[in-house]
Symmetry: C2
Subunit: 196 residues, 2 copies
């Protein structure tokens, strides 16, 4: 890894955390350069537009997400155990990978849901992929007879996402300490329904 690539990775790492607080649009070349003791133009040269920076921040975050949430769960058994592992790691993800402003993808989703362009397109691809991965895990749960034959995997994926979003909202905005316990209760109810 050459020098350029090293510093660029550092920039992206810090940018992801910053964007989790202020959003991909609130991200600022000047602020970023200040934080990392670089000149604005020096930093800018790594990406050739702000939009390219935003794209790379999302890509960087997705790689991390795969590393700390998805990949480790491949070690657990297929079906329900893996779904539980995903649920657990997913909850720890914002804290564990330096996103002081909460999940970057949640921030980006709300920001980009009506701003067309390549950044939005990328995020949509990422989110679709994540949702269909959840659905796939549910489906293998059916194959393994953990879940009932008629279980709707996409339905479960959307509901699980809802449990996470409500938890995110209640902990981050409302600072409600009981939110996590409620998220777990909701998850158990969902699993119970999947069992049929």
């Amino acid at each position: 890894m050459g020098k350029g690539e090293t510093t660029r990775d550092g920039i992206l790492e810090h940018a992801a955390g910053l964007a989790s607080q202020v959003g991909l649009d609130g991200l600022t070349i000047g602020r970023l350069a200040d934080d990392l003791d670089l000149s604005k133009s020096g930093l800018f040269a790594h990406f050739r537009s702000k939009e390219a920076l935003q794209v790379m921040v999302l890509e960087h975050a997705a790689v991390r997400f795969t590393d700390v949430v998805i990949r480790p769960t491949l070690a657990t058994a297929r079906g329900e155990p893996r779904l539980r592992a995903l649920f657990d790691r997913w909850r720890r993800w914002p804290r564990e990978s330096g996103m002081p402003g909460g999940c970057l993808f949640v921030q980006a989703a709300v920001e980009l849901d009506d701003r067309p362009g390549p950044v939005r397109d990328l995020l949509v691809r990422q989110q679709r992929e994540w949702l269909s991965l959840i659905a796939a895990v549910v489906r293998t749960g059916v194959e393994e007879s953990h879940f009932a034959r008629g279980a709707d995997a996409e339905q479960a994926a959307q509901e699980l996402y809802g449990i996470m979003l409500a938890w995110h909202h209640a902990t981050r905005l409302l600072r409600d300490a009981r939110a996590e316990a409620r998220a777990r209760v909701a998850f158990e109810a969902l699993v119970g329904r999947l069992r049929g």
Copy 2:
């Protein structure tokens, strides 16, 4: 209503819709003035800071929310019917009250969840109030014996919020037409659990 108050209401109306797209921070005095054919300084004079504008936008939106979501449901029977009415009107609320960027409160929640200040404080109060209103409706559902005696009202409120957030995410970002049907399925499952 004097002249000043009239134009100020028009400003807030448009500002709420604009903020639903670009956020309370993305709101811009200049853009607002352009859209409404006012001078920047003339518009600015109505609020004496951008922060005050943001506060009044949130207050304006809350009044509308009460008018189009909450108040009409008081005509329906207490308990489960009222909960269903809330769920229905809640889903129509972004479309029906001119928020082209989706629910302003969702946008604001993600934006403000780590930006301390009076705007955040107001939003937190509003969201707490809304969640406890949902919980109260669930509790009257218990009184009316629609729901089981042990039903956890706050748990149900957080879960219902999750159903709405997942629906918002899936329709707005992912443009998934099946999201609405899934939200309804999730709602029925929640009501089923409340029945015990």
